[in-house]
């Protein structure tokens, strides 16, 4: 009974909890409810993941309407994997959020803040669950609108302009997606992903389908911060409250990548991307993204902004994996979605802990703090090593598969770019390490205490996860391999 409803519960529980949270009195109660909901979702997501781990598919018909007429939630391993990442990151971020949010958000807005966070979680989970392209657009807008609100709650006034900028670009992206969906509907008369996959090949030559494809790729590209459509991301991540940055950096762009994979490979079927120059475009933009964003990251003076640019670079790696158009490349992309969520969340958490203590993430302000906050510093170093891709960390696994995929295609230039990107990552992570550890503190007389436990524990959970998934690749790589078979439509 409940097995069949898991997918729906994952969407309904946060959606119902959000208004309840909004009317709770400000204080710790809204946080407690949000925490409970996110942990419940995490448990459900794990359970769901176990059920589809063997490659089976759960189909849930909303309101009992048969697909393709009704909305169908169709859970295969790809959905379940993304839902697991989203729910898992929410579950780790919320314990961290308590103190960080109390410090950064005005007291009278705390319950509204958590209500919005729940809506954002709901939107992201909904995108992961749904098997209907229009439903996907609606969930995308739920998550986007709530993330604009969350970003605008940052302490500095620049958070407002960052949020506005994101709103404009995000809405253009979502509207592009809407145009694309409308055009494929006009060609096929269907909105169900599986149904579309069956109907679209018959009309592949039509120009409408090509136009739709272009609109969808660009629209989703805006959402996932594909270079050069990434301009909203650095500001949004820099000025958002720490907990929001952690959550969004770990989930929002990853879910958008999932939408891209789903649209390109399942809705339009694999062949379409290879016939059109899409795969080459992904490679080109991936290369430019890795190089340009990594170099930009080196020049940044704010630790959060530096990491935000690094996120754009990491999206570049994922795009490279997609662009290789091979099973190995896709596996690398899917593994990197997971691993990047782990490392970037850990890094933003460590920087958030610095912000919690000194109120700034500017590189001149954080000088010398590494010795005063050894645990935070340690977390930052290990997560940074993972970002670089040092063996023994999660980052190494995804880079390894990516390089293998490049060698398989004999794309030597791209293999070199991947390695060069790692070297650039060494430089910008070193910049943080140097400021934190090797430069004298601004004010030697003032001692800064180590971050509180409720900030450190979630950070270290993620740091240890980075090491664990770097040593034990069974879960991630196996899941990714099966996911790639689903994406490429290989019968089980």
């Amino acid at each position: 009974m409940i097995e069949t409803h898991t997918s729906l519960l994952l969407v309904v529980i946060p959606l119902l909890a959000a208004p309840v949270t909004a009317i709770l009195p400000n204080g710790r109660l809204p946080w407690l409810l949000t925490l409970a909901v996110s942990w419940l979702c995490f448990v459900l997501a794990i359970w769901q993941f176990m059920q589809v781990m063997d490659g089976s598919v759960i189909s849930y018909e909303l309101g009992g309407w048969e697909p393709p007429w009704g909305i169908e939630y169709r859970i295969d391993i790809v959905n379940a994997f993304v839902a697991l990442i989203v729910a898992g990151m929410a579950a780790v971020t919320l314990p961290y959020a308590l103190l960080s949010v109390e410090q950064e958000i005005p007291k009278d807005r705390i319950s509204l803040f958590y209500a919005t966070l729940l809506l954002c979680l709901d939107g992201l989970l909904g995108i992961a669950m749904t098997g209907d392209v229009f439903n996907l657009f609606v969930f995308l807008e739920i998550s986007s609108l709530s993330s604009y609100t969350l970003i605008s709650m940052g302490r500095q006034r620049k958070a407002l302009t960052a949020s506005y900028q994101y709103l404009i670009m995000g809405t253009i992206g979502a509207t592009f997606l809407l145009i694309g969906i409308g055009l494929i509907y006009s060609e096929t008369g269907s909105l169900n992903m599986v149904d579309l996959n069956n109907r679209l090949p018959a009309v592949f030559e039509h120009r409408t389908v090509h136009t739709a494809f272009a609109f969808i790729v660009v629209g989703v590209g805006l959402k996932l911060a594909m270079f050069p459509l990434h301009l909203w991301l650095p500001n949004a991540y820099t000025y958002a409250p720490s907990a929001v940055t952690v959550f969004l950096a770990a989930t929002a762009t990853k879910v958008a990548v999932y939408v891209m994979l789903r649209m390109v490979f399942n809705v339009f079927s694999t062949g379409f991307a290879y016939v059109t120059p899409t795969d080459d475009m992904f490679l080109l933009l991936g290369v430019f993204g890795v190089v340009f964003a990594s170099i930009s990251a080196i020049g940044q003076k704010d630790a959060k902004r530096l990491l935000a640019y690094s996120s754009v670079a990491q999206i570049g790696y994922i795009l490279l994996g997609i662009g290789f158009a091979s099973a190995l490349g896709l596996t690398a992309a899917v593994v990197h979605i997971f691993n990047h969520a782990l490392m970037k969340a850990a890094l933003f958490m460590a920087v958030g802990a610095l912000v919690y203590r000194i109120g700034s993430s500017h590189i001149t302000q954080i000088r010398g703090l590494g010795r005063q906050m050894p645990w935070t510093f340690g977390a930052l170093v290990i997560a940074g090593l993972s970002l670089i891709g040092v063996p023994g960390t999660a980052g190494f696994i995804s880079k390894w598969y990516l390089v293998l995929a490049a060698i398989e295609q004999q794309a030597w230039v791209i293999a070199i770019v991947i390695l060069a990107g790692s070297l650039l990552a060494v430089i910008y992570i070193w910049k943080l390490v140097e400021a934190l550890f090797f430069q004298p503190a601004i004010d030697d007389t003032k001692s800064v205490r180590e971050a509180p436990l409720s900030l450190l524990v979630p950070t270290w959970i993620l740091v240890l996860a980075n090491i664990y998934f770097g040593l034990n690749t069974e879960l991630t790589v196996n899941a990714a391999t099966i996911a790639v078979q689903v994406l490429e439509n290989i019968p089980q």
Binding site: E141, S152, I168, T171, L178, G182
Partner: protein, 118 residues
């Protein structure tokens, strides 16, 4: 000629879409940007409604003597999209209000200048 006049609603869609998109990109006034965004979104609503129209079809209400109906689904879809559009506009305008409270201006250039002077 038939191609041009037969698809006149699509031409309107394209003109509105480009006008809105251009406004978003070219204007520095935050309210005007939102207005442009609205026009841009509205053009998509028209696109969906045009798609749903069936030649010779009537309103999709069962009536005697009528056999051809327009497709109501795109219209229903666009109702949802209109709601999303309204929410986006409301949030955008709310942000503009907050920006004006903090910066005292809603011109993009002035905001940039203030941010840089810090």
């Amino acid at each position: 000629m038939d191609f041009i006049f037969g698809h006149y609603n699509y031409w309107i869609v394209i003109i509105l879409m480009m006008a809105g998109f251009y406004t978003v990109i070219s204007r520095g006034n935050l309210i005007k940007k939102i207005t442009g965004l609205n026009i841009f979104q509205t053009s998509v609503f028209l696109l969906y409604i045009s798609i749903g129209n069936v030649e010779g079809g009537t309103t999709p209400i069962i009536a005697e003597g009528v056999e051809q109906y327009s497709n109501p689904l795109p219209h229903v879809l666009i109702l949802t999209a209109i709601v999303v559009g309204v929410a986006t506009t409301a949030l955008g305008l709310a942000l503009v209000v907050r920006i004006r409270e903090e910066y005292g201006t809603i011109e993009e250039e002035d905001i940039h200048k203030q941010d840089e002077s810090l």
